[in-house]
């Protein structure tokens, strides 16, 4: 019993010692580390024991949403998305340290979860784009996050939009919202540039949209630029933090 314990703890210590220099230092100590080892559906008792440790030492890796360029090889008119978060509970001052998740559809109106695994098949790790057009950034001192993406297309029966989910710095949801586009710019993109022009203009106006029709004044973004130079979207979202 004592010897078993010693062996187990010794092994655990070895494991940790091997990882610490490469993993960015034991960041993950929270949570339940029961030493009673019930999980780990590994090999059965009758297979060979590993003669090597788990490949390269694992390191803590952020969610693949955390990046500013969310294009992931999707083609379309360049769009820079600048979102500023302001705090209603603090005289509408900029809110720094907030998490901002955004996601939107491709030029042809698809979200990554649908095209990722066509027919319900398997995603592959080679397909680095499996979460395309989805991203997460943390607001700076000015409450600003910036994403590089493409101008979204549209799908029926919705007006063109970007989804946004704002969390405080500890990950508590503050607001789920959507961002609308000026119709004149959508019309230009959707009629003059392939592959948008294959589908033509949106079938639902902002004023007829089930989400925007009653709230367009606070959800309509301002968009400047051109098809050749790309567009810049700016929008301010007010939350109670």
């Amino acid at each position: 019993m004592e010897r078993k314990l010693f062996l187990r703890n010794g092994l655990a210590a070895l494991g940790i010692a091997a990882v610490v220099p490469l993993a960015n230092a034991c960041k993950k100590s929270s949570g339940s580390d029961s030493s009673s080892g019930s999980s780990s559906s590994g090999s059965s008792s009758c297979t060979a024991t590993g003669s090597e440790t788990a490949g390269p030492y694992p390191t803590v890796t952020p969610s693949s949403y955390v990046r500013s360029n969310i294009t992931d090889g999707q083609t379309g008119v360049a769009l820079t998305i600048k979102i500023t978060i302001k705090n209603l509970n603090n005289s509408c001052a900029a809110l720094s340290g907030a998490l901002v998740d955004i996601w939107h559809c491709t030029a042809l109106g698809y979200y990554s979860e649908y095209t990722d695994t066509p027919g319900g098949g398997y995603a592959t790790v080679d397909y680095t784009a499996s979460h395309f057009l989805r991203g997460r950034q943390t607001t700076d001192a000015n409450g600003l996050v910036t994403f590089t993406s493409i101008f979204p297309g549209w799908y029926s029966p919705r007006a063109p939009h970007i989804h946004a989910h704002i969390y405080n710095s500890s990950g508590t949801s503050l607001l789920v919202s959507q961002i609308a586009f000026p119709t004149d710019i959508c019309n230009t993109v959707y009629t003059t540039v392939s592959p948008y022009s294959n589908r033509g203009v949106q079938d639902t106006a902002n004023s007829a949209d089930m989400v925007f029709s009653d709230s367009l004044s606070t959800e309509l973004s301002s968009v400047t630029g051109s098809v050749s130079a790309g567009y810049v979207l700016t929008h301010t979202i007010y939350v109670s933090a």
Binding site: G15, S39, A48, G50, G55, P58, T61, E113, V125, Y167
Partner: protein
């Protein structure tokens, strides 16, 4: 040759995770679940994943949404399915395909969080079965008379043959 097979290994990771890689997957997938679940729980009525699935339309998208938290860890495996060893005790089974699923989880109780990663191997050539072991090649077939490097391994719990292509 018996055929070309792809193997599936279902690796379950829960609160009892022991290895650093498993702990990272456990911790980070739960953290991502906490973030993403709020989209489907805006009135804060539910606590468990199964409640969300039962009551909230589209909550099954959480499988996909939470999977982004483990993609980086999957890449760290350098294309080899974990835990499945050849008879020399080495990882050998190449994979690119995977499917991530949340088995159960809870917003208030992290110890209930449990996920599975289904690894789908690349096609391997199955030549024969020796005792309880499969004799395969992961490097493709060769012309008659040429030497084929092979691997030997045992079938084991959570490992199954996912697909079979018969020889022509």
């Amino acid at each position: 040759m018996k055929g070309i097979i792809r193997l599936q290994y279902r690796k379950i990771i829960g609160a009892g995770a022991q290895q650093p890689w498993e702990k990272y997957v456990f911790n980070d997938s739960h953290a991502e679940f906490l973030l993403q679940a709020q989209l489907y729980n805006q009135e804060k009525k539910y606590s468990s994943f199964s409640e969300l699935i039962a009551h909230v339309p589209n909550a099954e998208k959480l499988h996909f949404l939470v999977s982004a938290s483990v993609v980086g860890y999957l890449r760290q495996l350098n294309g080899k399915i974990p835990d499945i060893l050849n008879n020399a005790g080495k990882l050998f089974l190449p994979f690119k395909g995977y499917r991530f699923e949340i088995i159960q989880s809870d917003i208030r109780d992290k110890s209930k969080h449990q996920v599975a990663i289904n690894f789908i191997s690349e096609p391997v050539i199955w030549y024969d079965t020796i005792g309880d072991q499969l004799l395969v090649s992961v490097n493709g077939d060769k012309e008659a008379g040429e030497e084929i490097l092979t691997e030997q391994f045992s079938m084991q719990p959570f490992l199954s043959i996912y697909s079979l292509k018969k020889p022509v």
